[in-house]
Amino acid sequence: MTLPFNLDTSLLTLIIFLPAAGSVLLLLMMTLPMSAEGHKVAARWAALGVSLLELLLAVYLFANYDQAAGGFQFEESAPWFALLGSSWHLGVDGLSVMLILLTGILAPLAILISFEIEDRVNLYMALFLFLETGLMGVFASLDLLIFFVFWEIGLVPMYFLINIWGSQNRVYASVKFFLYTMAGSLGLLLSIQLIGLTAGTMDITQLMTFWPAFQGDGGTFLGIGVETVKNLAFLAFFLAFAIKVPIWPFHTWLPDAHTEAPTAGSMILAGVLLKLGAYGFLRLVIPLFPVQAATFSGVIAFLGMAGIILGALAAYGQNDFKRLVAYSSVNHMGFVVLGVAAAAYVYGAAYTGGGGMSPEELESARQSAVLAMNGAAMQMFAHGLSSAGMFLLVGALYHKIHTRDLRQMGGFWVLAPVYGGILIFTSMGSLGLPGLAGFVSEFLVVRGAFAVPAFSLMTLLSMIGLLFTGAYILKAIQKVLHGKPSQEWVDYNRQHHRLEITWREGIAIAPLLALMLLTGLLPNWILPMINTTVTRLFGG
């Protein structure tokens, strides 16, 4: 069967633009002569179809990525904005493939859960698919300007999804999310301009060698020291990605945005959008600023630790179920940050030729850092699965009982045993129970970061955070599921709306459960790909 697109040469372009094409299709479908109900059904299934097709492409990419060879594959290059040295340069390595796969998996599930949306379904689905285009574009791009284009583009559909289909406080949350993130990227914008201008190209692969080695005109640049310029540019990059991850204390947009977003919006926000920030650190910040990243790595690790501990404490204090899960994201992403810090430290030390360590120390530190980085990358994947699952379950419950207040819930295990079982399973995945995905990643991060001498203490302290992780997860389970359901809920369940999980919701979460279990028991289905990539990026 001959396809209109050549999968060998344009797979990434297709992956990026298929959802956008679907988006346009959904908008055009609004003009078809159908009943209102017909439009809704058609829109839902059309969107699901497009996202499943996208998943197929992502799986194809994953299956055909040569894990042994590693490096950037499926590269494409075409002229785009020659004046600025920018070209349509795409390419993926193991890290990007993993994230593209994650996005491809989560999108159809989120669309499936969005079947409950009744209001302006076409527009909702069109925006959602357009968001997927933005996300795929970031992961696939090897040009700094293209990276920035897709980075910013993703903000727009998310803003509208929260603003129109969100909860009570949606206007505040959406505006805060948009302005906060955009303001954070202004520094990134300026730095990209500066770097691209100086290097004469926006190509990331070339910049990775050019920019760290750049010394200006004998040490000065723009009238000030080149090191000062690089430090400022590093801070600008750091800020933009730190807001996205989010790194404490730049996380304050997250609780509102996650809580007020519609279920699918929260799933993708927590599942994928946060990973954009972490990806930015790995793809851009550390390779472009090895020295600055290494110098700053202690601070980054400290902030990661703060995110782990404080995020867990904040989650424990919540009465709003969804806000609890939102803070759990801050908590879990803290592990990613720890891993990133360890990598930054060692990579920078290796770049400057030792960093005060003997070759044996450096080698052992490097191996530990690779472990930590593997953990961080795995955590991106695992957290993507578990947080998307948690938000799905929270949303499913909210859809039925119209409250997220934990104090009003209780005893739901009696009324909805299957839901309860699935909630516990997902919660355990979130908690990091051995046998599930979260454990593999957290273990690797802790094992790796602990062995890097500079971070041992901070890793230890982060274990306190893990303690509270268990606390808030169990608190949530206890408050929602355990105890005796009040008569009110029993009546509600019988007469008004059954609390049990529906088939649709069950089908939506099943792949996540399966993947969490699979990754927990057999991490080697994905870990070697991550390992090759990470070793090549930071260990080699």
């Binding site: 002229p79 785009w80 904005f81 020659a82 004046l83 600025l84 300007l145 920035f148 284009v149 897709f150 980075w151 910013e152 583009i153 727009v156 603003n163 129109i164 206007v171 505006v175 948009f178 302005l179 955009m182 303001a183 202004l186 914008l189 300026l190 301009q193 500066l194 691209g196 201008l197 640049f221 723009l222 009238g223 000030i224």
Partner: protein, 535 residues
């Protein structure tokens, strides 16, 4: 490079021919007047597209003399005794402007379809205005440029004072006209000085741009000779501020921008579209073509401080827009802010900033035409522009809401749209200019400050995002007041056609910068060579 077929003359004169035809019609022939106006502007738009897509970028890049820089040239002697020729031509900067004028004028006619009061006169004066605008962009003789410049200004007065907003039109139209006229008169004095000085030195008295460019490029150019006996105060340095800022008034350069917000608000919709979308670009374009290109030494001395005025435009304009309660004033001040970026681009004097400025002229022109058309559509139906009173209008006017949102994204420089394609190179140009431009006033020097300007200017972007979100939220989202706005319906097919046309331009340029950037770059490159440097 003479054109076999006088395409540029046809583009320029088709609207005025239409205007004459319309005035010959009886007063009741409203529909005919509209159709003739649409046909005239549409025809010019189509020819503008033809010129745009047949412009030879490679030939432009290979040009070595001023003559070769311009394509589609036509020349007829006009007043030979004074060295005035009817000389037309386009280069890489003016070709997109011709296209912009076509888009904005055609959309403007479509948007004005509903005008019932003295339709004939409205369309006739509008077409007169359009001819004036086209003429400035294609003029290669300074007399011709001024001729069409003034021709564009006086219909503005008539259009605003007759069909504008009753509460403000007399004040606004008078202010606008006087401001711009005074500015252009000051510039005219400078141009006459150039004419005479160039003529005295070479023996040839001519207003032709190529002649004056050759004079400016002479090794002992009279433009670089000292005046008033003061050493260092050359002709170029003395006259540049007057000519640049004289035209800069029309470009909305701070502090001479004050006519613009009131003018925008008082004007009827189509006139606001042309005013912000095209007229302000006349000022920026003329400032480049006459002041920067012909007096490069003056540019190098003065642009380094004029850039501060443009910075005030960008940031201050954005903050003022944030404060406005009247929907149209928000857009008006947003224009002041975005035009600041154009002038800022000129002030970088390198290929990045100046290409960005050329792109910004086009992108902002389309975007603001779109904005004003949306505002007009809402106002025509709601009869109020008070932002707190509006709300929920996307329920009754979804097309307008969508168009306004896209326009808003362009104005905040959202990647994927034309605003980003324009703003990014301007900022890159600021960074590039940093080490190269030094401000010298007497013995006081300021160096490496353009980077700081970039950092401050970027504030404009986030404030723009904030006020755009605010306006979108308060006008198009939220509660819709069904009692007050009972009769409000959606826009007409013609309105939608205009919106789609403008949206397409912004989106296409946004995803495919190569469709315009190389052309602008080819037009800008020779100007940069005048500063004694390559890209």
């Amino acid at each position: 490079m003479n054109s076999p077929f006088p395409v540029l003359s046809v583009i320029t004169l088709a609207p005025i021919a239409g205007a004459i035809l319309i005035l010959l019609l009886p007063k009741t022939a409203k529909q005919e007047a509209r159709i003739i106006a649409a046909a005239a502007t549409g025809f010019s738009l189509l020819l503008g597209l033809f010129v745009y897509f047949n412009y030879d970028v490679a030939a432009a890049n290979a040009a070595t003399t001023p003559e070769q820089m311009f394509q589609f040239q036509e020349s007829i002697p006009w007043v030979e005794a004074l060295g005035i020729n009817y000389h037309l031509g386009v280069d890489g900067i003016s070709a997109p402007m011709v296209l912009l004028t076509g888009l904005a004028s055609f959309a403007g006619v479509l948007i004005s379809w509903g005008i019932e009061e003295r339709t004939r006169e409205f369309m006739a004066f509008f077409l007169l205005l359009v001819t004036g605008v086209y003429g400035v962009f294609v003029a290669m003789d300074l007399f011709v440029l001024f001729f069409f410049y003034e021709l564009a200004i006086f219909p503005m007065y008539l259009l605003i004072v007759t069909w504008g907003w009753k509460d403000l039109r007399e004040y606004a139209s008078m202010k606008l006209t006087l401001y711009i006229l005074v500015g252009s008169v000051i510039a005219l004095v400078g141009v006459l000085a150039m004419y005479f000085v160039a003529g005295d030195a070479t023996g040839t008295y001519s207003f032709d741009i190529t002649h004056l460019m050759n004079v400016a490029a002479m090794p002992d150019s009279p433009f670089n000779a000292n005046v008033f006996g003061i050493d260092g105060l050359t002709f170029a340095r003395a006259w540049f501020p007057f000519i640049f800022l004289g035209f800069g008034v029309l470009a909305g350069v701070f502090p001479f921008h004050n006519w613009s917000p009131d003018g925008h608000v008082a004007a009827p919709t189509a006139v606001s579209m042309i005013h912000a979308g095209v007229l302000m670009k006349l000022g920026a374009y003329s400032a480049l073509r006459v002041a920067v290109q012909l007096l490069p030494q003056g540019a190098q001395t003065h642009l380094p401080w004029i850039v501060f005025l443009t910075l005030i435009n960008v940031v201050y304009g954005a903050f003022i827009a944030m404060r406005q309660r009247d929907f149209k004033y928000v857009i008006g001040f947003s224009s002041v802010s975005h035009m600041g970026l154009v002038s800022m681009g000129w002030a970088t004097m390198n290929v990045y900033g100046m290409t960005g400025a050329g792109l910004q002229m086009f992108s902002h022109g389309v975007m603001t035409a779109l904005f004003f058309s949306c505002v007009g559509m809402v106002y025509d139906r709601a009869h109020t522009r008070d932002i707190p009173s509006l709300g929920g209008f996307r329920q009754v006017m979804p097309w307008v809401a969508f168009a306004f949102i896209v326009g808003g994204l362009v104005s905040m420089g959202m990647p994927g749209l034309s605003g980003f394609v324009a703003e990014f190179p301007i900022f890159t140009g600021l960074w590039d200019a940093g080490p190269n431009i030094t401000l010298q006033i007497g013995s006081w020097t300021l160096a490496n400050y353009y980077g700081v300007i970039a950092v401050v200017a970027v504030l404009g972007i986030i404030v723009t995002a904030a006020y755009v979100l605010r306006v979108v939220q308060q006008v198009f989202f939220g509660e819709f007041n069904r009692e007050r706005f009972a009769g409000v319906g959606d826009v007409t097919v013609l309105d939608k056609a205009a919106l789609v046309m403008l949206l397409a331009a912004m989106i296409i340029l946004g995803v495919w910068p190569s469709i315009m950037a190389p052309m602008v770059e080819s037009g800008v490159a020779p100007i940069i060579r005048l500063f004694g440097g390559g890209a």
